[in-house]
């Protein structure tokens, strides 16, 4: 199966058992210790920056922690935060809807665009490297604030996009200031940054053996048939990888929504992404306990979605090394 791992893939630091088996005694012990010493920068980071804060936030999600109250006075409230989230906070469910809509539209379109452009660039014409660079450029800017600010001014009522449309006699929209269009504007921004999955698709396309295409051509397959029967199956592990990554990324979208709405999720909560709602609860409303609960539900939800991908992956992801049986 896809997840089957071989010893080579998960080489662990030598265990005492193995060391003993090799009969090298204390030397190997020291080597093991050295391993941990070399590992320590990462280990300290994992514990100090990830693991311990995460556990603390799990604890906080059962309290009424409000940031300003000193720790000893924080009250345990049991499941109250979770109950409130699921039963008494309409804005929470609204944020869930906004986020799911965003991910359902933006992720497939982004992947399709990335694959389409990768197919175009997977040829050898002169200057193709330049185009690859150009298409990748927006992704380098990533989740940057500057980019979102530019986007906001471009999609203003009197921004560049409307001036461009007016040139063709099309009456523009107030885009980011209109609750009907604000989320769509965010989606376009996300789709535009298709460079990272595109590069991965390109690498995947290079791996497809040319003899498969030759064989298919001999069998009379046209370009479309070749794409369906050779490219897509051969590319499926890469598609799978990109799908998982981009879905997680899509659910976590924050910066653009934050900047475009000045941190409010407006107009009329149309860009209130889950992470933005979480941030507002934690830092503006100072309900950090509630925000922690939201974060944990979010973590579990993303975990479940990823698990669904992995469990369905066996039906459509093909690994050419034969381990997909």
């Amino acid at each position: 199966m896809a997840l089957t791992t071989t010893p080579e893939q998960t080489r662990r630091p030598p265990r005492p058992v193995r060391a003993t088996r090799r009969g090298s005694g204390p030397g190997a012990g020291r080597e093991g210790l050295a391993g941990y010493v070399f590992l320590s920068p990462w280990l300290v980071g994992l514990l100090g920056i990830t693991a311990i804060p995460m556990l603390l936030s799990l604890y906080l999600s059962f309290t009424n922690y409000d940031v300003l109250t000193p720790w000893p006075e924080v009250e345990w409230v049991g499941l109250a935060n979770y109950r409130r989230m699921f039963t008494a906070d309409p804005a929470y469910w609204h944020a869930v809807r906004v986020t799911v809509t965003f991910a359902l539209v933006a992720v497939p379109l982004k992947l399709a665009t990335a694959l389409g452009v990768a197919l175009l660039l997977n040829r050898t014409w002169r200057g193709v490297g330049l185009f690859r660079g150009l298409f990748y450029l927006p992704s380098l800017l990533g989740g940057s604030v500057a980019l979102a600010i530019v986007w906001r001014s471009m999609f203003n009522a009197d921004g560049a996009v409307n001036s461009f449309l007016a040139f063709f006699g099309i009456q523009g929209q107030p885009w980011v200031n209109d609750p009907d269009w604000a989320l769509e504007t965010l989606m376009v921004l996300a789709i535009w940054q298709f460079g990272a999955p595109m590069v991965i698709f390109l690498a995947g396309l290079k791996q497809v053996p040319t003899e498969l295409y030759e064989a298919a051509a001999v069998d009379g397959a046209g370009p479309f048939r070749q794409f369906l029967s050779v490219t897509l199956p051969m590319l499926s592990p890469v598609i799978f990888f990109n799908l998982v990554l981009e879905t997680i990324h899509g659910f976590q979208g924050f910066t653009a929504a934050f900047v475009l709405s000045n941190g409010t999720g407006g107009p009329v909560d149309s860009t209130l992404m889950y992470t933005l709602k979480l941030y507002i609860s934690g830092f503006t409303d100072l309900e950090m306990g509630y925000a922690s609960a939201m974060a944990w539900v979010f973590l579990v939800a993303i975990g479940l979605i990823t698990a669904v991908f992995f469990s369905t992956g066996r039906f459509w992801v093909h690994y050419s090394d034969g381990s997909d049986s």
Binding site: P26, G27, G29, G32, V67, A88, N177, G266, V268, L286
Partner: protein, 448 residues
């Protein structure tokens, strides 16, 4: 890979048992870390005694404020003045833009490492005071170490939360309706006046829209400070004790008032209204030319003037001006756990009561709280916009009503819910009554 690194042939199995230990050592290390890290945080969170009894011992006071470059320059100059008079006191200054300031302050406080002195406003004062993050200045006030004798009474009282003086007013301001004078003159339109009713204001704005081709007024239905003034004129308030001071019907009436104004084309379209709701002072509709009036604080006039070539005027919000009050534009508060409480209190007293400091700081944080110094600053003011805003506020001061109570904790939710509800009505997503009901429900939950 392993083959490439020859295993040193150490002494034989003499200390063989050690080879089995790294795992356990690691476990011990993890356990130690788990214990030590919270301890470290805990240690950082406590502590708060005054470091020394010696008044001349060197002291470093951290101070944090929001604002632009101009404010930073003025504040640094004023603090340098303090250091000149008290050479043992130096400052660790941090400042940033308003957006994100309170996130940072909350995070610093949570980390047990807040600044000794911080700037705060009435949106957050009660949040911090109710959680005992601010030092109660009452005893200092009684002993004269904090001098409020020359403050308007309602101004210093606007820093009292639950009977404790939680912040010292750094300046005074009040609601101001700023209008584009140049535009009105050009089209031969009358200027708005203090004391106009709300209906008169809307009729005037509709007239401006029709004649000047620019929407007469920003729609302030999402603006808590306009809503607040209007409520006070109806005999209500934003808060009463620990509850909301208004009911859903009041919100409905407020939303319907402005729905009428939009129907009469007195205001911009909803997307432009939204733009005005979310932008900072430099891009208010009155300076970007998208509306003839904006709803701001009177002391923001000089800042607005910097962003437009047009002449601007300022009057009180419509209705009875006694609904407005001498509001502390912002406060200086001292962190309760500060190690240098007494020194920090002396610094904030200096910033508001020292003549030289007042001269340096000018009206950047609002009119000086100390009335003697306000007079002194007014006499030496040269910027016409600053002179005008001081003049208007002086005129209004004679009609100011009593200050309301400082907003309750949960006020930030009220502000964002009001914006959401008002915009839902503007974009036709909800009727005034529906939006009002949701607003009251959400706010009641937030302040509980």
């Amino acid at each position: 890979m392993y083959a490439a690194t020859p295993v040193p042939a150490g002494p034989p199995a003499a200390d063989h048992h050690r080879t089995a230990r790294p795992g356990r050592r690691l476990a011990n290390l993890l356990a130690a870390t788990l214990v030590a890290v919270p301890l470290l945080f805990g240690a950082a969170a406590c502590g708060g005694e005054d470091a020394s009894d010696d008044p001349n011992a060197p002291v470093k006071i951290s101070i944090f404020w929001w604002g632009g470059d101009a404010r930073a320059k003025l504040t640094e100059d004023a603090l340098a003045l303090y250091t000149k008079k008290h050479p043992n006191v130096t400052f660790e200054k941090t400042w940033q833009a308003n957006q994100g300031y309170f996130d940072k302050l909350a995070t610093l406080t949570a980390g047990g490492n807040p600044p000794d002195i911080f700037q705060i406003d009435d949106n957050f004062l009660a949040e911090y005071a109710a959680r005992n993050a601010t030092l109660d200045l009452t005893s200092y006030q009684q002993s004269g170490k904090v001098d409020t004798s020359r403050f308007p009474e309602s101004l210093w009282k606007y820093g009292v939360v639950d009977g404790k003086l939680a912040g010292l007013a750094a300046g005074e301001n009040t609601q101001g309706l700023v209008y584009n004078k140049t535009l009105l003159t050009k089209h031969g339109l009358p200027e708005p006046t203090t004391g106009m009713s709300w209906e008169q204001h809307i009729a005037w704005a509709a007239q401006v829209s029709a004649k000047a081709g620019m929407p007469g007024t920003q729609d302030p239905s999402a603006d808590y400070k306009a809503f607040w003034v209007w409520l006070r004129q109806q005999g209500k308030d934003l808060y009463r004790d620990k509850a909301l001071g208004f009911a859903a019907e009041d919100v409905t009436a407020w939303f319907e008032l402005w729905k009428g104004a939009r129907d009469r084309k007195a205001t911009p379209t909803p997307d432009v209204i939204h733009e005005g709701n979310v932008t900072d002072v430099t891009k208010q509709l009155v300076v970007t030319g998208k509306a003839a009036t904006s709803w701001v604080w009177a002391n923001q006039l000089p800042e607005l003037k910097k962003n437009t070539k047009d002449e601007l005027g300022v009057v009180a919000y419509p209705g009875d001006p006694s609904a407005q009050w001498a509001r502390a534009s912002m406060y200086y508060s001292v962190f309760k756990g500060s190690k240098h409480r007494d020194a920090a209190v002396d610094v904030i007293n200096f910033l508001v009561n020292d003549p030289e400091a007042a001269q340096v700081l000018g009206t950047d944080r609002g009119l000086p709280s100390n009335l003697d110094l306000r007079k002194q600053v007014a006499e030496s003011a040269t910027d016409p916009a600053m002179k005008l805003s001081m003049q208007v506020e002086e005129d209004l001061a004679s009609t100011f009503g009593a200050a309301p109570q400082v907003p309750l904790k949960g006020h930030s939710t009220l502000k964002s819910e009001l914006t959401k509800a008002a915009e839902a009505v503007q974009f036709g997503r909800a009727t005034p009554a529906e939006a009002a009901r949701q607003l009251v429900a959400a706010c009641t939950a937030a302040i509980a």
